[in-house]
């Protein structure tokens, strides 16, 4: 605290006024979260009984009962597991395929390396609305509609271009001498990729995985269009469906469901927030004005 006040003094005279004003805003920013948590801790009768709806819950443990109810309502639990699967598998596959491509483009004797990069990266320039109708048609025609395989394939594809952008940029910074030395030792092209290049790239891979997992987990649009049944449908469309029964199920249950749908990404943020913010600046550099 002494350091804080010392720094306040040296910055400028109005410094503490600013600190207090922004502090009020920060508190205001937490109010909706507070309301969500408090409401999710109430039983439905308790919620409707309380006129202000701002009072503290009688029994905070009611939260677990509400989350359990939410898990078994409107396919939320199945959606949770499905989203987990899509985020991990599609996020991982996208990074793997993008890394293979980036390796070929930056290190192997491929013709028109820049063409292949632009071809794949052009997958980020269209608004998502451009993909929806033909994808729906394609999925209906091929039987991919409403299957986990279909969801994984699409999420892998949509995550790929940005992964390629990052991995290509990162591979270019790895010294070529490493590759030459490994080759002299008799390492194959794939061996160099798998045992040298990839292990050196864990830090961008971690940031990308965090970023793509969060993106896939949070996606609503493609989940709505490409899936319909419990077990295939991701968690966000399930939540949107539950939302339709807001008055019927009661706000505590719906907000408990919203908490459930938020849990993994909030946990990731609290644990690895620094990397997430770094991912954000990466995105800004990579696809500002595209998407």
């Amino acid at each position: 605290m002494a350091i804080v006040t010392a720094r306040l003094k040296e910055t400028r005279p109005g410094g503490w006024v600013v600190t207090v004003l922004v502090g009020i805003l920060a508190v205001a920013w937490l109010v909706p979260l507070w309301l969500v948590v408090v409401t999710a801790m109430k039983s439905t009768p308790e919620y409707f009984h309380d006129a202000s709806q701002w009072s503290l819950p009688e029994d905070p443990l009611q939260l677990f009962a509400n989350v359990r109810d939410a898990w078994f309502t409107s396919g939320m639990g199945a959606g949770f597991m499905a989203s987990l699967l899509y985020g991990v598998v599609a996020g991982g596959l996208a990074i793997l395929f993008a890394s293979l491509g980036a390796y070929s483009i930056t290190r192997l004797r491929i013709r028109w390396p820049f063409f292949w990069f632009v071809l794949v990266f052009s997958g980020t320039i269209f608004p998502f609305q451009m993909y929806l109708i033909p994808l729906f048609k394609l999925y209906q025609d091929t039987g991919l509609y409403d299957t986990q395989l279909g969801m994984i394939l699409f999420y892998t594809a949509i995550a790929l271009p940005f992964c390629l952008f990052v991995m290509r940029g990162y591979f270019a910074t790895i010294p070529r001498e490493l590759q030459e030395a490994a080759r002299i030792d008799g390492c194959s092209d794939f061996g160099i990729f798998w045992r040298i290049i990839l292990p050196l790239s864990w830090s961008p891979i971690a940031v990308l995985f965090l970023f793509q997992f969060t993106w896939i987990w949070n996606d609503l649009l493609f989940g709505l269009v490409l899936s319909t049944s419990d077990g295939v449908r991701p968690i966000t469309p399930s939540l949107a469906g539950l939302q339709g029964q807001f008055a019927h199920s009661g706000p505590p249950l719906v907000l408990a469901a919203a908490l459930l749908a938020t849990l993994p990404t909030i946990m990731l943020f609290l644990l690895l927030g620094r990397y997430m913010m770094r991912g954000l600046t990466l995105t800004a550099a990579g696809r500002a004005g595209s998407e």
Binding site: V4, P127, Y131
Partner: protein, 321 residues
């Protein structure tokens, strides 16, 4: 990268690159030589196939579908530019355009301008790290959950906000936040800003940290006040990151969907739709796929126009420097 493509073209027939020892070793066997030349393409095959089939082909197909009438059951029939002509007089489309303008204005004012101001204030604050974390927290929540949370706050009868207003005796201020246009759009913009302000501030803070201290100190020595320093020194130096943030926010205004879909589904009576929501509703609720495709095309053309503006601004910055 493009430079080393040329010499290869010259001896493409021989397929033995000058320094490729392992290729030379296998060159004696014609099959091995072919495999070695093809291998690099195998590495790009998965990503090219996935992006081609699931992104690029659909994008091209939408262009064609926008010129057809198609209900999803019978084959599409070609109708030329009729969809686009019909858009001009479609009240729902015009409302969606107007709402998209509201979203742009709202995000520019509440997210970009406010975000810049807060970033400048936070830049010298000792509690910046804590505030940054708090303001960024909602950005970790999905748009769908944001919509659900703010629906619970803004809901007319069951909403927390109206209940609180009545409770403290300000019942007159209670509003039908989500059912009165255009108030419903403004309410949803508030929800979106709650989610998006944190990331905007962080981008501006990154920009502020790259600004050298010298010009600011020089201006202060010359007697410039805080506002003058901001206006004539900080702001011009922040131009690169401002271009990025404005670009991102413009694009976000066009593609906002999740929050609207969970809070109002574009209603009541299609009063709070934006172009992204109109596209979805026409296609997957009304099953007018050709018409929906034409809305997607309009959205894309406008977004591309914004991108061109954005790229030009980037080049102007390069010329200035």
């Amino acid at each position: 990268m493009a430079s080393d493509a040329k010499p290869r073209k010259a001896n493409a027939g021989k397929a033995t690159a000058p320094e490729g020892t392992e290729v030379a070793a296998e060159a004696s066997r014609p099959f091995g030589r072919l495999a070695a030349a093809a291998a690099p393409y195998l590495y790009v095959t998965p990503m090219v196939l996935l992006v081609g089939v699931f992104l690029l082909f659909p994008a091209a197909d939408t262009i064609w579908l926008s010129l057809t009438k198609w209900n999803g059951i019978y084959p599409p029939t070609f109708i030329g530019f009729d969809n686009y002509l019909n858009l001009r007089t479609d009240p729902a489309f015009i409302t969606a355009c107007l709402n998209t303008v509201y979203w742009i204005a709202g995000l520019m004012l509440l997210q970009v301008a406010l975000g810049l101001a807060l970033a400048v204030l936070l830049n010298t604050s000792p509690l910046a790290e804590l505030y940054k974390r708090i303001l960024y927290l909602p950005a970790a929540i999905s748009g769908a959950a944001i919509g659900v949370i703010w629906y619970a706050i803004f809901n007319n009868q069951l909403g927390i906000l109206n209940a609180a207003l009545r409770f403290v005796g300000l019942g007159d201020l209670a509003q039908a936040w989500l059912t009165t246009p255009p108030l419903n759009t403004f309410s949803m913009i508030v929800a979106a800003v709650w989610q998006g302000l944190g990331p905007t501030i962080i981008l501006f803070l990154v920009g502020l940290q790259t600004i050298p201290r010298d010009p600011i100190e020089a201006a202060q020595t010359d007697g410039a006040n805080a506002w003058q320093v901001f206006r004539y020194v900080t702001l011009p130096l922040l131009r690169p990151i401002t271009v990025v943030v404005v670009g991102i926010n413009l694009i976000n205004s066009f593609k906002v969907f999740d929050i609207i879909w969970t809070m109002t589904q574009g209603g009541p009576y299609r009063s709070s739709e934006t172009l992204a929501v109109t596209m979805y509703r026409e296609s997957f609720v009304s099953f007018r796929f050709g018409y929906g495709a034409s809305v997607a095309m309009v959205l894309t053309v406008v977004a591309f126009a914004v991108a061109v503006f954005y790229i030009r601004a980037m080049f102007q910055r390069l010329e200035v420097q």
